[in-house]
Structures are given as structure tokens and as C-alpha cells.
């Protein structure tokens, strides 16, 4: 029992780390662009697929073990660096001034397109590439043998992302510009800030984070059609529970939801998928704008 609970906690931490990578991009993009990108989960899935493909290719080269981990990062940068700017410039930039409902529909349409691109490119059979996990080997934690990849690397990357992001937004010029646009778009534009560049940069960066989340998840989960949709609803649950636009809060709720889910996996597997949403609904019933969110002032 205790052993199972301990295992559930370790799993939960690793899982929360993956979800956080996706959720933080979603919430950052929302904070700046005021668009909730329904296709964000697809970046997670495509990041995973590209990482698995790159990993399989890397395994055939002479530098096989050494390339396994860099391949993950490369996959994320490739996916985010290509898809992010293309989608932001070609599609999103046309809808910033449109009604909310149209913005949602457009990103939903993108989501439909990207889901099938995965099926057409990688097929519908599960894909699995665990070279990065094997490279790092296993460690003993008490009575449990656990992979170093899930124990150290995943939470480490998530924590580094959170700290790096906080540092970036508070201490660097570009970061402060992004924050300025988040807080008051009109005033920021009036001060001569190029909002379009900020949008492009933020969207691309958020996309890279989602793809990195997918790349990091790929060695421990098999990729099948539908991972993208599961991830968008889950990361939305994380972001909504924290409050839209809340970055530090998203880490906390990712932990809450990640742990809740993995405990369910061990003790009530039928309800694995339900737990995260129960947590979300419970929080939203008490705090309609999330744990850390503030209500937007209604206009008279």
C-alpha cells in the first residue's frame, strides 16, 4: 500500500512535469495573445512524434547513445520553430481583432487539421522510442527501482523552465516587454512596442514548450492518435484551475492534477481520466476564476 502510494507519487511528479510544459505554453500564449489555442495539444503530439522519429534515426548512427537526449530538444525546436511562426503569421494574425467565438473556431479548425497530419505522417499504430530512458539508466529510491529519466530529468526540466521563465519575464528587457503587452496592450503599443513581434515571439516560444513536453513524454508513453486531444483538455484543466494566464499557479495545479491522476491510476483505474476534471470543477465551483485568477472587470 505505502509502496504503491510512493510509486504513484513518483509517477505523478513525472507526469505533472510533462503536463506543466504544455500548460505553461498555453497559459503564456493566452496571457499575451488573448487566444486559447485549441491546437496546442497537437504541438505536444507532433513534438513527441518527431522526437521518436529522430530518436529512431539517431539510434542507427555511430553516436547513438550520446544523441538520444539532444534529439529530444532538437525535435522541440524544429516543431515549434517551424509550426509556430507559420501558424501565427498565416492564420492567427488574421483573427486578433475578430470575435472570440471565431478565434476559438479557427484554432479548433487548426486542431482538426493537425490531428490528421499526424495520422497521415505517422500512421495509427503506436510508436514508442525509449532510447533516452535507457541512456540515463535506473536509480534506487528506497525499495523502488525507478528510471533516472522520470525521477530527475522530467521534473528538472520543468523546474528549470519555470525558473527560467520567471527570470526571463522579470529580469530581461524582452521579457518585460512581453509582460507590458500582457498588462496593457494599448499603452504598450503607444510606447512604441511592436506588438506583432511580441505575439510572434510568444506564440513560437509557447509552441516550442508544448513540443518539448511531447518530446520529453515520448520515451515513456506510446504515441497514438488522440494523445493531442487528451493533452489539450488536460492542460486546459491545469490552466483553468490555476487561473488563465497564471504561470507559477500552473505549476502548482499541474502537481495537484498530476498527483491526483496517478493516484487514481493505481487505486481506481476506471476514474483516471475523471480525477483531473473533478479537481478542476471543484476548484471552479468555489473560485470561478481559478485558484490564482482574478475576475476581469465587467464593462458598463
Amino acid at each position: 500500500m505505502t509502496l504503491l502510494l510512493f510509486l504513484a507519487i513518483l509517477d505523478g511528479l513525472a507526469y505533472a512535469a510533462q503536463v506543466f510544459m504544455v500548460a505553461v505554453g498555453l497559459t503564456l500564449i493566452f496571457g499575451v495573445l488573448r487566444i486559447l489555442n485549441v491546437a496546442h495539444g497537437s504541438f505536444f503530439a507532433i513534438g513527441g512524434y518527431v522526437a521518436a522519429t529522430l530518436g529512431t534515426w539517431a539510434a542507427t548512427t555511430a553516436l547513438a547513445p550520446a544523441l538520444a537526449l539532444p534529439a529530444l530538444l532538437l525535435a522541440a525546436v524544429l516543431v515549434g520553430g517551424v509550426l509556430g511562426p507559420v501558424i501565427e503569421r498565416l492564420i492567427l494574425s488574421r483573427i486578433y481583432v475578430k470575435e472570440h467565438v471565431l478565434q476559438l473556431l479557427v484554432t479548433f479548425a487548426l486542431f482538426m487539421i493537425l490531428e490528421d497530419i499526424q495520422k497521415l505522417t505517422w500512421g495509427v499504430q503506436p510508436i514508442f522510442q525509449d532510447a533516452p530512458v535507457r541512456v540515463l539508466g535506473q536509480v534506487e529510491v528506497g525499495d523502488i527501482i525507478y528510471t533516472a529519466y522520470q525521477l530527475y530529468l522530467l521534473p528538472g526540466v520543468a523546474l528549470a523552465t519555470l525558473l527560467g521563465l520567471m527570470w526571463f519575464l522579470r529580469r530581461t528587457l524582452t521579457g518585460r516587454v512581453i509582460v507590458a503587452v500582457t498588462e496593457d496592450r494599448e499603452a504598450a503599443t503607444a510606447m512604441g512596442i511592436d506588438a506583432n513581434r511580441v505575439y510572434l515571439l510568444t506564440f513560437t516560444f509557447g509552441t516550442v514548450l508544448a513540443a518539448l513536453g511531447g518530446a520529453l513524454a515520448s520515451p515513456t508513453t506510446s504515441l497514438v492518435p488522440g494523445v493531442g486531444v487528451n493533452m489539450i483538455v488536460l492542460s486546459f484543466a491545469v490552466v483553468a484551475t490555476a487561473g488563465l494566464g497564471q504561470i507559477e499557479g500552473a505549476m502548482l495545479t499541474a502537481l495537484l492534477i498530476g498527483l491526483g491522476r496517478s493516484v487514481a491510476v493505481y487505486f481506481a483505474p476506471e476514474f483516471e481520466v475523471v480525477i483531473p476534471y473533478l479537481i478542476m470543477v471543484a476548484v471552479l465551483l468555489v473560485r470561478p476564476h481559478g485558484l490564482f485568477g482574478r475576475p476581469e472587470l465587467r464593462r458598463v
Binding site: M112, K119, F236, R298
Partner: protein
């Protein structure tokens, strides 16, 4: 219903019957299309309020599984379908009390989340739902008559058309009533409703429950037509399909959903078979094109071609 709607509605109904008589397999396709048209009418009400639900397949599945679960005890379609609509109403009220507090992003995504939770429960609670195998539904009697397959299919189609006409008329009345006319205010600035002494949340809740009831009824008809229900009914792709049909048909008229649904189902029969893994991609691309370039959908095109021209003449 005014003449500009009644005429195309009855002409469309006659055309559907004529086509179904000439190609027997179309009876099935059209019945499913009409059932989806009912659900899409609900989506249209929500779109009037500027809200989009990415989870209304939930209510289709609720209606369909209600039929599947009660069919062993209830053999009569005239009881099964009201039960399906009632189940949709009850679940819609429970979920609606929660989601009607939200707008835009939250509204869309919370609906998606609820439908995906329901999907996973249908899949995992094998003991009750038979998981992905789904449940077979024995053909029910209609008004006490046990019909042969061809007669049954005809009755379903004619009944579906009658329901669509009746509910389309009711929907147009609803949209013209004060409550229906208040929906657009939620889209632009809902505090105006509050200052008129009206709760915007309650306005949205009423529209939401109606949309859930319509989708529940549509799900019931789907179960009675396909005679087999699976968890896939509540999967996100089906919710997306409803939104797609609503946009394809166009939000300008209560006939839009049926026009959209019939065109969609006809194309799907051929195209989805030809591109099984690329179907969502095609839908997504067409959806983008409609939103960016023909926002009033097929009904808008019909208006431009027929009604405007008629008025000028």
C-alpha cells in the same frame, strides 16, 4: 414560419423524399443527417449567444445510450425518443448550471472536457457499457407496430422530416421571442441584460438546456437508426462535426443546420471512405475557409443566389 422559410423547407423535404425513393440507401443517410440537424439547431442557438460548445456529442451519446439501456425494457419508439430527450435535458441542466457561468474559452473547453470524461467512462465502465464494443439495439416498434426493415427505414425518415419541420418551426419562434432576441446581447455586452433586470446566465442556461434536449433527441434517433451505440458517439470529433455543420449551414436561419447536415452527410459517405485518415483535415480546412471567406455558410449563399435575386426581380 414565414414564407421565405416555409417554401424552401417543404421543397427540401420533398426533395429528400424523392431522392430517398430513387436510391434506397439514402434513407439511412438522410435520417442520420436529420438527427444531426436537430443537434446542430441547438449549437445554432448557442452560437447566437456567441458561445461555441466543443462537447455537444456528449448529449448525442446520452440520448443514444438512454435508448440502448432502456430498449430491453421499453420496446416502443414513441417512448424511447422522449426518454432520450428527457435524459439530454436532465444532464444538460446539471452541466448547464455549471457551464452557463462561463463564456467564450471556458464555455467551449469545459464542454469539451465534460464530453471527453463521458467518453472515457463509456469506454472504461465495461460492465455496463460493453466498452468499445458498444451495445446493440433491437429494432423498436413504432406506435405498436413491428415493422420490416424497409418500412421501418421509411417511417424513421418521414418521422425525422416531420420532427425537423416541427422543431425547426418552434426554433424559429423561439429565436423571434424576447428570450431568443436577447441571445445576441450575451455575445456583445451582457451587462445590458442585467440592467434590464434579466439574468444573462439564465438566458444562456435556457438555450443550453434546449440544445442538450435537441441533441439528446438526435442521439435517440441515431441509436434507433444505426441500432448500435459505441463510446465514439461522444468523442470530440463528433462534437467538432456538429460545430462544423453549424458553420457550414450558416447561422442565419433555422434551416441552415438541416441544409448543412444533409450536404455534410452526403459528402461524408463518399469522402470519408476515400480518405479515412484525412477526413478531419479536410473538414478543418473547409471550416477555416468558411470562417475566413464565407462566414454566412451555405444558407448565406442560398440567400445571395435565390432571395436577393428574387427581390430584385
Amino acid at each position: 414560419m414565414d414564407r421565405r422559410l416555409a417554401l424552401p423547407a417543404f421543397a427540401g423535404a420533398a426533395l429528400v423524399i424523392a431522392l430517398a425513393a430513387s436510391a434506397p440507401w439514402l434513407k439511412f443517410v438522410f435520417t442520420i443527417a436529420l438527427a444531426k440537424g436537430l443537434a446542430v439547431t441547438g449549437i445554432l442557438l448557442l452560437l447566437r449567444a456567441g458561445q461555441v460548445s466543443f462537447g455537444h456529442a456528449l448529449y448525442i451519446a446520452v440520448g443514444a445510450y438512454t435508448v440502448a439501456f432502456t430498449r430491453p425494457h421499453v420496446g416502443e419508439m414513441l417512448l424511447l425518443l422522449p426518454l432520450a430527450a428527457a435524459a439530454g435535458t436532465i444532464v444538460g441542466l446539471a452541466v448547464g448550471l455549471f457551464v452557463a457561468r462561463y463564456r467564450d474559452i471556458f464555455f467551449g473547453m469545459l464542454n469539451l472536457a465534460f464530453s471527453m470524461v463521458f467518453y472515457s467512462l463509456l469506454e472504461k465502465l465495461y460492465e455496463y457499457t460493453k466498452g468499445t464494443d458498444g451495445i446493440r439495439v433491437a429494432r423498436p416498434t413504432i406506435a405498436g407496430m413491428a415493422l420490416e426493415r424497409v418500412d421501418y427505414e421509411w417511417t424513421m425518415l418521414i418521422g425525422g422530416i416531420a420532427l425537423a419541420l416541427a422543431l425547426g418551426w418552434l426554433a424559429s419562434r423561439f429565436l423571434a421571442s424576447p428570450l431568443g432576441q436577447a441571445l445576441p446581447a450575451i455575445k456583445t455586452r451582457e451587462t445590458r441584460l442585467e440592467f434590464a433586470g434579466i439574468s444573462a446566465k439564465r438566458v444562456l442556461l435556457v438555450a443550453y438546456v434546449i440544445s442538450a434536449a435537441l441533441a439528446g433527441l438526435g442521439g435517440g434517433i441515431i441509436a434507433c437508426t444505426t441500432l448500435h451505440v459505441t463510446p465514439l458517439l461522444s468523442y470530440w470529433t463528433h462534437s467538432g462535426e456538429l460545430v462544423f455543420i453549424a458553420i457550414l449551414g450558416g447561422g442565419g436561419s433555422v434551416l441552415g443546420p438541416y441544409l448543412g447536415a444533409i450536404v455534410y452527410e452526403l459528402v461524408r459517405v463518399y469522402a470519408a471512405a476515400a480518405f479515412p485518415d484525412g477526413w478531419q483535415m479536410i473538414l478543418g480546412a473547409v471550416l477555416l475557409l468558411i470562417i475566413l471567406f464565407a462566414a454566412r455558410g451555405l444558407w448565406g449563399i442560398y440567400e445571395d443566389l435565390v432571395l436577393r435575386k428574387g427581390r430584385r426581380a
